[in-house]
């Protein structure tokens, strides 16, 4: 039994050896650029030195956990943690459904040309870097010189502090995030919608279902697996943080909500040279991300979905 299995897989390799050979390249990529660098995780537990390899650095105090203790007793880190969770949670709450709704709307458009045109228009912001978007935001939303506020002033109202008051800034941040990425994220949903069997729509039309009914009973259930997979993946990012977006949009008046973990790492690691501390923070971030990923996946499986593996 075993022997036949073995010879079976051997003959398999023999027949498709080219494919196996091709697999080596991506495998090598992951080993070299994803797994070997993980050796540097130990910097989190050691006293960093520029002239030593991580294997030679001395262990940090408190059984190597000194920098974790330091991070969690650092007020700025706790704020950064709170802000990361707050902004990512709001992003998830408002930003996650947005492309689904947009994809369904696009799908319902009758004129092919208009649909293509609209799609292109909503994709476009995805290609702008955050530095440019923050420049646009300043031009539009600055309290005295911003176009939007000039218009508001001309209508006789007071300027709205879109960028310079923490609560408003959060709204602007989330809004700009949706504006930038919503169109691009529809692609995957549109593809999923395209995969739904058209017979279902025809049958429901015969039964006299309205458009909304079709969306509710056919389109949404049809793309449910896609939604779940993407939801699990975004839950894995709940502690992950963009650097560019908050860094480009922040200013000194809103640091209490804008300074997320990545900015903390930048200020204390790259600018402050506290590499062990920031590696510890990064490691913490990743571990929490993995926990969320597994948790969400298990939940999805429990409720009868396929999950991501």
């Amino acid at each position: 039994m075993e022997i036949t299995n073995k010879s079976k897989s051997l003959s398999y390799i023999k027949r498709y050896w080219i494919l196996y050979l091709m697999m080596l390249l991506p495998l090598a990529f992951f080993i070299i650029f994803r797994y070997i660098p993980m050796g540097y995780i130990q910097i989190a537990f050691k006293n960093y030195s520029i002239v030593k390899s991580p294997w030679e650095m001395g262990w940090a105090a408190n059984h190597g956990f000194e920098y974790f203790i330091k991070a969690f007793s650092n007020r700025d880190f706790l704020y950064a943690l709170r802000n990361t969770i707050l902004l990512n949670f709001l992003d998830l709450l408002l930003g996650f459904p947005a492309p689904i709704i947009l994809a369904i709307l696009l799908n319902e458009l009758a004129f092919k040309r208009f649909k293509k045109f609209t799609q292109t228009v909503v994709y476009m912001p995805h290609f702008l870097s955050w530095v440019i978007i923050s420049g646009l935001a300043l031009q539009l939303f600055a309290p005295t010189n911003g176009l939007v506020n000039i218009m508001i002033n001309k209508m006789g109202f007071a300027s709205i502090p879109f960028l310079n008051e923490p609560a408003y800034w959060v709204v602007t941040y989330i809004f700009l995030g949706i504006w930038q990425s919503c169109g691009w994220n529809t692609i995957i949903y549109l593809a999923a919608i395209a995969g739904i069997n058209p017979e279902l729509y025809e049958a429901s039309a015969v039964d006299g279902a309205s458009r909304l009914r079709k969306i509710w009973h056919i389109t949404l259930p049809g793309i449910r697996p896609t939604i779940i997979v993407l939801l699990i993946l975004s839950l894995g990012h709940i502690l992950g943080s963009d650097f560019e977006r908050p860094y480009a949009l922040r200013n000194t008046l809103v640091t209490e909500v804008s300074d997320v973990i990545s900015i903390f790492v930048y200020n204390n690691g790259i600018r402050g040279l506290q590499f062990s501390l920031t590696t510890a923070v990064g490691l913490f971030q990743s571990v929490v991300g993995v926990i969320f990923l597994f948790g969400a996946n298990a939940l999805a499986k429990k409720s009868g979905e396929r999950g991501i593996w």
Partner: protein, 572 residues
């Protein structure tokens, strides 16, 4: 057959993996021995030895020229200026390269580093073992941090032993600057302090034509200054016509510490001791000086009365929005670098104002902020500027020092500061230089090529009289009256910083940036706070600042002062 194929796949894959991992795994391990080449620099035992065998050992001939070509890399700031040339490859870098090759047989390669993020970039280069052989930064703590990790060469023995081959460097930087950072207990020297020739720092500017239009005298007290701002605001339609709603009586930026310094310094008691200045002075914006808060409170009051530009805190460093508002003529007064409106030739604020608003429009420096003793005191820095250091990866300390020496030589630095006669300067009958703004390949990317003359900030022609005249001539298209006034006021009643050298303050390690951020955050929030909340916001921010490392630095500095100076409160 099958086995052979499998074996060959295995062979290929292992070679591939080995080859690729080989590349990565030897990268992180830098030189196992940090700085042996430095401390054991080639030397003969006594200075009395004839210098020949020593030069021989260094590979130099009697003209200090290497017999074999040596190669070094040098950091250069990149300003990304409009119409500028490549910072690492242009007319002036070619001059340096040719000169170094001719005089010392050293091949120089320049490494551009963005000016406004130099600290971060040099950190990255150091961490990646990629830092240029000659590196420079304004941040001494960065150097100290890397030195503690063994990443920086100790220059102490090298500069001492090779004094004879570095005459221009010793002559120009002087012992004071060279040993400025020498650790008093360990004797190590991680960096050379370069020379700040002109101690000019900042000035308070107001629109001269507006003063005239409103029949006001140049303000000489805080009260007069404030009334002037109010007058600007109240007469916006006289001054700006249909653009009246654009009026900005006083503008500032997120960097309040710099952009309000004359105002805040006037609240600091006149009898501040050197000890106070040292202990409270690690923040270069003087933010911890006693009574500083009152200065910010004044700004807060102005802000709430609508006298300060509302959007100041939103724009990051290097943003030109505020400059453009000045150029358009909307800004009445501001505090900034001592020659800020006049620098940059045709693109200067002054030139733009004259073009866009009219020939009368100009900013003039004023001196309205006196302290409790009626003195217009300005806190100036010591005569030090950028810090030159050699990372441990520098295998050419002698060639690098010869570069520092070469760039300190009068003839070379004067050429770099003024360029070619008839192109970037003309010689006036009195012997002084007058710069000419130019474009194209001989454009200077930085004022007087400060980025290339790494040992000098500011002019020094070897003759003080000529130097002062040349400074005033240095602003093409600006009436020298404005420059003279600005030059006079900016250091008037100045208190020059002294070197309280007590060695390393451990608490400062890695804290610089985080504390700077906190300072800016606190000052910005305090300025825009409503008047009744000002105290609460300022005090809370200060508490956070001190709690996040500020107090530890103050305490350590106080202890270090006591150790080296005892009960003295003033430096000699």
């Amino acid at each position: 057959m099958g086995f052979r194929k499998a074996a060959s796949i295995l062979a290929i894959s292992t070679t591939l993996a080995l080859a690729l991992s080989g590349c990565t795994s030897d990268k992180p391990a830098p030189s196992a021995s940090p700085a042996p080449s430095a401390s054991s620099a080639p030397t003969s035992n006594t200075a009395e030895d004839s210098s020949d065998p020593r030069l021989e050992k260094l590979g130099l001939d009697s003209n200090f020229k290497f017999k074999e070509t040596h190669k070094i890399t040098v950091e250069i700031y990149d300003r990304g200026n409009d119409g500028g040339t490549k910072p690492e490859d242009n007319f002036y870098t070619q001059y340096i390269k040719d000169g170094m090759l001719r005089d010392h047989n050293v091949e120089v390669t320049f490494v551009p580093v963005p000016r406004w993020t130099e600290g971060e970039v040099i950190n990255n280069l150091l961490a990646g073992n990629q830092a240029p052989d000659i590196s420079l930064t304004y941040s001494y703590p960065t150097i100290q941090t890397y030195a503690n990790m063994g990443g920086v060469l100790d220059l102490g023995p090298i500069v001492e032993e090779n004094k004879d081959i570095l005459p221009d460097m010793w002559d120009y930087l002087t012992e004071a600057n060279i040993y400025w950072d020498k650790d008093p207990s360990t004797g190590t020297l991680w960096a050379l302090e370069t020379r700040l020739n002109v101690l000019n720092r900042i000035n308070t500017f107001v629109r001269e034509d507006w003063l005239k239009k409103l029949n006001l005298q140049a303000p000489t007290t805080l009260q007069e200054f404030e009334s002037m701002l109010v007058a600007f605001k109240d007469n916006a339609s006289t001054l700006l016509g249909k653009d009246a709603d654009k009026m900005i009586p006083f503008s500032t930026s997120f960097d309040i510490g710099w952009r309000a310094d004359h105002l805040t310094s006037s609240f600091v008691p006149n009898n501040l001791t050197d000890k106070d200045i040292y202990i409270q002075g690690f923040d270069d914006r003087h933010f911890l000086f006693p009574n500083y808060k009152e200065g910010i409170k004044t700004l807060n009051k102005w802000y709430n009365e609508g006298l300060v530009w509302k959007d100041f805190s939103l724009y990051p460093a290097g943003d030109t929005t505020e400059d453009n508002l000045m150029k358009m003529g909307y800004v009445g007064a501001f505090i900034h670098n001592w020659d800020y409106p006049y620098r940059n030739g045709d693109d200067s604020i002054h030139a733009s104002l004259q073009r866009l608003v009219g020939p009368d429009a100009a900013y003039i420096a004023v001196e309205p902020f006196a302290n409790d003793a009626g003195v217009y005191k300005k806190f100036l820095s010591g005569p030090v500027d950028r810090k030159i250091f050699f990372p441990a990866t520098n295998k050419e300390p002698i060639a690098s020092l010869l570069y520092v020496n070469w760039i300190s030589k009068l003839e070379n630095r004067v050429f770099l500061q003024f360029g070619e006669e008839g192109v970037t300067h003309e010689k006036l009958p009195d012997g002084s230089f007058k710069t000419i703004a130019t474009t194209g390949e001989k454009i200077m990317n930085s004022p007087a090529n400060i980025d290339y003359t790494i040992t000098s900030n500011g002019l020094n022609l070897g003759d003080p009289d000529k130097t002062v005249k040349s400074i005033a001539n240095g602003y093409a298209g600006v009436d020298s009256k404005y420059i003279e006034i600005a030059n006079q006021i900016t250091t008037h009643d100045g208190r020059v910083g002294k070197n309280a050298n007590v060695g390393e303050i451990k608490a400062e390690d890695g804290q610089g940036q985080a504390l700077k951020e906190k300072r800016d955050t606190l000052l910005n929030k305090a300025v825009v706070a409503s008047v009744d909340k000002f105290d609460a916001i300022y005090d809370a921010g200060m508490k956070d600042y001190l709690g996040s490392g500020g107090q530890a630095i103050i305490d350590e500095r106080a202890a270090a002062w006591e150790k080296y100076f005892g009960k003295d409160t003033m430096l000699k």
